[in-house]
């Protein structure tokens, strides 16, 4: 029996300390990354999707709450802020290009941002999505903290929005390469910008894997679309 008591105490210790779930987060991502590589870098094997699926399975099986998990994982989550600030580095390096392409960027931003909000709400609404779901879905292409703030403001569920934002990011990262090859958009700036508008930081992460210039434009698109979505969604919400 003493052995079992020991294990209980060990489990209690691990549940209280952030170490276990922080380690698990990195381990799950490492597995996802390894699978992504094993698949020849195919965008269809997405490291984030694999990591999330593994972690949810482990948490459900071990009866661990999301709050307990997040106590550990928050250290990784926190880095989103500094990483956003770091986007200044590629932005500075490509500044002359960015300035030159300002007009195409703003035109594409406006078209893409409206498409993101209207198409998601229209399609989900036509298929019988509840009002709460639609309101949570509307800001899904904006980056997580902004989208959550918008959802709260218009009466959606912020934590549901966070989930939908991540799923949107994963879908975009998976489809962007074949989709834009099909449409014959060969320009790295246009490709990166498009995935950044649609799929925020996860899209930008995918773009950085492929090409630095694409990643830079994806980062800019993410920042600009966060701003525009925050303006657009409250204006469009009357139609939902």
């Amino acid at each position: 029996m003493q052995g079992a008591d020991h294990l209980d105490l060990l489990w209690v210790y691990l549940q209280q300390e952030p170490l276990l779930w922080l380690t698990a987060t990195l381990a799950a991502y490492a597995i996802g990354h390894a699978l992504h590589r094993a698949a020849g870098g195919s965008p269809l094997v997405n490291s984030v999707a694999v990591a999330i699926a593994l972690l949810v399975a482990v948490l459900v099986v071990s009866g661990t709450s999301y709050a307990t998990y997040f106590d550990g994982a928050q250290f990784v989550h926190f880095l989103l802020g500094p990483a956003t600030v770091l986007l200044a580095v590629p932005l500075y390096r490509n500044f002359s290009r960015v300035r030159r392409l300002l007009v195409p960027m703003l035109a594409a931003l406006l078209a893409g941002s409206v498409t993101a909000v209207v198409s998601a709400v229209a399609v989900a609404g036509a298929l019988g999505g509840s009002r709460e779901t639609l309101l949570s879905l509307a800001p899904k292409s904006a980056t997580t903290p902004i989208a959550m703030g918008i959802a709260e403001e218009i009466g959606g569920l912020a934590s549901l929005t966070a989930t939908l934002v991540i799923i949107t990011g994963i879908i975009g990262a998976m489809i962007v390469t074949p989709l834009l090859n099909l449409l014959r958009v060969t320009d790295w700036a246009a490709r990166g910008f498009a995935v950044g508008v649609a799929s925020h930081g996860i899209g930008a992460a995918r773009a950085f894997q492929v090409n630095q210039l694409a990643g830079t434009f994806a980062g800019i698109a993410m920042a600009l679309n966060a701003l525009l979505t925050a303006i657009l969604v409250p204006l469009l919400v009357g139609w939902i």
């Binding site: 987060t25 991502y29 984030v48 990591a51 999330i52 972690l55 948490l59 999301y66 997040f70 990784v76 989103l80 500094p82 990483a83 956003t84 600030v85 200044a88 580095v89 590629p90 500075y92 007009v103 195409p104 035109a107 498409t115 993101a116 198409s119 989900a124 298929l127 019988g128 879905l137 899904k140 292409s141 902004i146 934590s159 549901l160 799923i167 879908i171 989709l179 834009l180 449409l183 958009v185 060969t186 320009d187 790295w188 700036a189 910008f193 498009a194 508008v197 649609a198 996860i202 992460a205 995918r206 950085f208 894997q209 090409n211 210039l213 990643g215 698109a221 920042a223 966060a226 925050a230």
Partner: protein, 121 residues
């Protein structure tokens, strides 16, 4: 390295403080990015340590979304109940958004004669 991390945190902190104090409706880290950009423009170069941190963090940017993504476990019941509108809505909307954005960008760029030298092969 310490200086690079300090600079990052200072930019983010200033960004958060300024947007809150002035009530500007933009996210703190986005303003932090602009502050960092201004600092780099003043320096006229990217310090090596900062460049190193950027290389590491930006190449594994997607890791940082995992903790928020695991929050899906809080909504499994709703996703099960509304999987069709959610799945189709997200798929159609993400596809359309990428396509519309890229095509408009590419079209305007061509109209203006701004083709990039560096293209996907």
């Amino acid at each position: 390295m310490v200086h690079a991390i300090l600079a990052l945190l200072v930019c983010q902190l200033l960004g958060e403080v300024i947007v809150r104090a002035a009530g500007i409706p933009i996210p703190g880290p986005v303003l932090g990015t602009l502050l960092m950009l201004a600092a780099l423009a003043a320096l006229r170069e990217v310090p090596e340590a900062l460049s190193g941190v950027a290389g590491v963090l930006l190449s594994h940017l997607s890791l940082l979304f995992v903790p928020a993504g695991v929050g899906v476990m809080l909504h499994l019941a709703r996703i099960k109940a509304e999987w069709l509108p959610l799945l189709v809505g997200l798929l159609v909307s993400t596809t359309l958004t990428i396509a519309v954005t890229a095509v408009v960008f590419f079209w305007v760029m061509r109209k203006m004669g701004l083709q990039e030298a560096e293209q996907k092969p």
